[in-house]
C-alpha cells in the first residue's frame, strides 16, 4: 500500500500538471490540435476529476498503511501528522484548496461568476504547494528519472503561466478590437484580390 500511495502520488502530480496547463489554455480560449475549442474545457474538467480520484487514493493508502503512522485528520488538517510534519502539512493545504476549487465548480450554476472565479484562482496556489509536497515529503522525486519529471512539471507550469501573462499583456482593449479587426480583414482581402 505504501508503494500504491507513492505511485498514485506521482500520477496525481502529472495529472494536476496537465489540468493546470489545460486550464491556462481554456482561459485564452486556446485549442489543442485535433480538438474543437469546447473540448479543451471538457478535457480540463474530466482530467481534474480523474486527478482528484488519484489524490484520494494517494491520501487513503498513505493513511491506511501501517508503515508510518499518519492520522486521518492529517489529510485535511495541516501539521496534524508527526511524520514529515511540514511537508505532509503542505499536502493537506493543497488538498483543501483543491476541494474548494472542485466544490465551487460543481456548484457553479448556483454561484456568481465572480465568486466562482475568485475560488478557482486558488488553483494557482494549490499546484505549487502540491509540487513542494511531492518533491520533499519523500525521497522518490529528489533524484533520478522522477526528479527530472518533477522539474519538467515545474518548468511546464511556470512556462504556461508566463505564456498566459504575456497573452494577457497583448490584449487589445474591447473598444478597439472591432476597428482593428475591420482594418485587418480589409488588408487581407485586398491582398487576395490582387
Amino acid at each position: 500500500m505504501w508503494y500504491a500511495s507513492r505511485g498514485t502520488g506521482v500520477v496525481a502530480l502529472l495529472l494536476l500538471t496537465a489540468v493546470m496547463l489545460l486550464g491556462l489554455l481554456v482561459t485564452r480560449q486556446g485549442r489543442l490540435p485535433g480538438l474543437p475549442r469546447f473540448a479543451v474545457g471538457g478535457l480540463h474538467r474530466n482530467l481534474s476529476l480523474l486527478a482528484a480520484v488519484f489524490v484520494v487514493i494517494h491520501v487513503l493508502t498513505a493513511v491506511l498503511d501501517g508503515y508510518v503512522n499518519i492520522p486521518i485528520t492529517a489529510a485535511v488538517v495541516p501539521l496534524a501528522s508527526s511524520y514529515e510534519r511540514f511537508w505532509l502539512g503542505l499536502g493537506a493545504v493543497s488538498l483543501d484548496l483543491m476541494l474548494a476549487v472542485i466544490v465551487t465548480s460543481l456548484l457553479r450554476r448556483h454561484l456568481s461568476r465572480r465568486t466562482w472565479r475568485a475560488v478557482h484562482l486558488l488553483a494557482y496556489l494549490s499546484w505549487p504547494v502540491a509540487w513542494f509536497h511531492s518533491v520533499f515529503s519523500s525521497g522518490d522525486l529528489r533524484h533520478g528519472a522522477l526528479f527530472i519529471l518533477a522539474i519538467c512539471c515545474a518548468i511546464a507550469v511556470v512556462g504556461g503561466v508566463l505564456w498566459r501573462l504575456a497573452a494577457a499583456a497583448r490584449d487589445v482593449p474591447r473598444a478597439e478590437r472591432v476597428g482593428l479587426e475591420m482594418s485587418a480583414v480589409k488588408k487581407q482581402r485586398e491582398g487576395t484580390i490582387r
Binding site: Q29, P173, A175, E176, V178, G179, E181, V185, K186, R189
Partner: protein
C-alpha cells in the same frame, strides 16, 4: 393620414366613440409640429388616472393586448407581471426605465414622440411605476438628434413638478450614440456606470437589473400607449389594429425622396398604403438594419403586422419601412449599412467580433463590382455561423439583413459578377451615422 378601422374588430360592447381616430399619440393633423405643453396635453387627454394600487393596470394591459413597440413586440402585461412578481418574491423595490434610446439610424419615431408629446410618455412612466410599485423612474434618451429632446424633457418635468403631477421622481439619463445603447442589458450596464454593452442573460433584468433590483424597461412609445389604455380602457385600444395585433403604432416611412415621415398607423395596415405605389423593380426594407429586404412587389401584397410579415421572413419591428428608389443599387446600400453594423459590434463575443467585419468586407466586394464567385457563398456561410452566438441579437439581426439582401438583390449580384450595376445614382440613400466608436469612452 386617413383613419383606418379594423375589419376584424367587431365587439360593439367595448366600442367607444371616436376610438378609431388616429393619431392617438401625436398631435392631431391641424396642430402643426409644435410640442404639446402640459395644458394642451391635459385638455386633450385629461388627468393622470392613478389606480392607487399596484397591479390593477396589468389586467387592463392584458385585455388590451399591448405589445412592446421597441421592436420585439413582447406582451407588456407579462413584463410588468414578471417585475411585480420578482419584487414580491425578493422583497426589493423595482425600478422603471423608459427607453427612448432609439439607436436604429433609420428610425425617428421615439425622438419625434418625445419631442411632440413628452407628457404622454411621462404619464406612462408614472403609471408603469405605480403598477409595479417602483420608486425610481429613469428616462433614457439619445442626446444628439435633430431636436434638443433633453431640454424639452427637462421643461416638461418642470411643468409637471409645478402642478405636482408626478408621484415618482423622474431622472433623465443620456445614452451614448451607439447602435446597441438601447438594448436593455446594455442600458442597465450603462446606467450602472459601465459601458453600454449587452451582458449575458440570465439573470434577466426583470429579476435582477439596475443595482440588483427587478427592472422594467419599456420603450417610450409603449408607455405612451399604456397611458392612454389607463385612461380609455382596452376596448378603446382595440378599436384599431387587428384582433391578434391590436392598436396603432408609430412608423418611420421613407419613400423615394428619402425624407423620413413619422406617421401613426393601425397595425394590419396594407404596406401599399404606406409606401404609395412603389416601382415594381425596386425593393422595400422592413424593420431597419436588423430587418429584412423584400422585393417591392412582394411587400406591396403584405400588411403591417407580424402575422402577415413573418411568413415572408420579416417583422414589424420598430415600424421602419423604407422604399428603395429604383435608381439606387441595393447591394451598395446594404454594404454601407453592414459596414456600420460591423463597426457597432461591442467586440465582446467572438462570432460577432470576427464574423461581422468579414461579412462587411465581403459585402463591400459584392457591392464594388466584379466580386469573386464564392463571395456570396462566403456571406451565406458566415451569416449562419454568427447567428445565435452573441450575448445580444446583434449578429442575428445583421445576418438576417445580409441574407435577405442576398435573396432580394440576387439578380443585381449576378449583374455585379459580370461587372455591371443597374444603379444610375451613386448618392447614398440609407441614413448611416458617420462616427463609430474608437475608444472605451465612446461606449460610456
Amino acid at each position: 393620414m386617413t383613419a383606418v378601422t379594423s375589419q376584424e374588430f367587431s365587439d360593439p360592447a367595448s366600442w367607444v366613440p371616436g376610438a378609431g381616430e388616429l393619431p392617438r399619440l401625436l398631435p392631431p393633423a391641424g396642430a402643426g409640429k409644435q410640442a404639446q405643453d402640459l395644458m394642451t396635453h391635459l385638455a386633450r387627454y385629461g388627468r393622470l388616472p392613478y389606480r392607487e394600487r399596484t397591479g390593477t393596470l396589468i389586467n387592463d394591459l392584458e385585455a388590451a393586448g399591448l405589445t412592446g413597440r421597441g421592436g420585439a413586440a413582447f406582451p407588456v402585461h407579462r413584463k410588468l407581471a414578471a417585475v411585480l412578481a420578482a419584487a414580491d418574491r425578493r422583497r426589493k423595490i423595482p425600478t422603471v426605465i423608459a427607453n427612448g434610446a432609439e439607436s436604429e439610424p433609420a428610425s425617428d419615431k421615439d425622438a419625434t414622440l418625445l419631442w411632440l408629446a413628452p407628457h404622454l410618455v411621462l404619464d406612462g412612466l408614472q403609471l408603469a411605476a405605480e403598477a409595479v410599485g417602483a420608486q425610481t423612474a429613469i428616462l433614457y434618451t439619445h442626446a444628439d438628434r435633430e431636436h434638443d429632446v433633453g431640454k424639452r424633457l427637462q421643461q416638461a418635468l418642470r411643468e409637471r413638478h409645478a402642478v405636482g403631477a408626478d408621484r415618482v421622481p423622474v431622472q433623465l439619463a443620456l445614452a451614448p450614440p451607439r447602435f446597441l445603447a438601447g438594448q436593455e442589458t446594455a442600458l442597465v450596464s450603462h446606467l450602472a456606470g459601465g459601458p453600454a454593452i449587452p451582458t449575458f442573460t440570465p439573470p434577466r433584468i426583470t429579476e435582477r437589473g439596475l443595482a440588483g433590483a427587478p427592472t422594467l424597461v419599456q420603450n417610450v412609445e409603449t408607455l405612451a400607449h399604456l397611458a392612454l389604455i389607463a385612461r380609455r380602457g382596452p376596448g378603446w385600444f382595440r378599436a384599431v389594429g387587428t384582433r391578434h395585433e391590436p392598436g396603432s403604432m408609430l412608423a418611420t416611412v421613407r419613400r423615394a425622396d428619402g425624407r423620413p415621415r413619422i406617421t401613426e398607423v393601425p397595425l394590419g395596415m396594407p404596406l401599399r398604403d404606406l409606401l404609395g405605389d412603389p416601382q415594381p423593380e425596386s425593393a422595400v426594407l422592413i424593420g431597419g438594419y436588423h430587418g429584412t429586404w423584400l422585393p417591392a412587389a412582394r411587400a406591396a401584397a403584405l400588411t403591417l403586422e407580424n402575422r402577415s410579415l413573418e411568413p415572408a421572413g420579416a417583422r414589424v419591428g420598430a415600424g421602419i419601412v423604407i422604399s428603395l428608389p429604383a435608381d439606387r443599387c441595393g447591394l451598395v446600400e446594404t454594404a454601407n449599412a453592414v459596414r456600420y453594423l460591423a463597426l457597432e459590434s461591442a467586440g465582446q463575443c467572438g462570432p460577432c467580433l470576427n464574423g461581422l467585419p468579414r461579412m462587411a468586407s465581403a459585402f463591400a466586394e459584392l457591392a464594388g463590382g466584379r466580386p469573386r464567385p464564392q463571395t456570396r457563398a462566403d456571406l451565406e456561410r458566415w451569416a449562419g455561423l454568427v447567428t445565435g452566438r452573441g450575448a445580444c441579437h446583434h449578429p442575428d439581426g445583421t445576418a438576417r439583413f445580409v441574407r435577405s439582401a442576398l435573396v432580394t438583390f440576387a439578380a443585381e449580384a449576378d449583374r455585379h459578377e459580370r461587372g455591371r450595376c443597374s444603379a444610375t445614382s451613386a448618392r447614398p440613400f440609407l441614413p448611416i451615422p458617420t462616427s463609430s466608436a474608437r475608444t472605451a469612452e465612446d461606449w460610456t
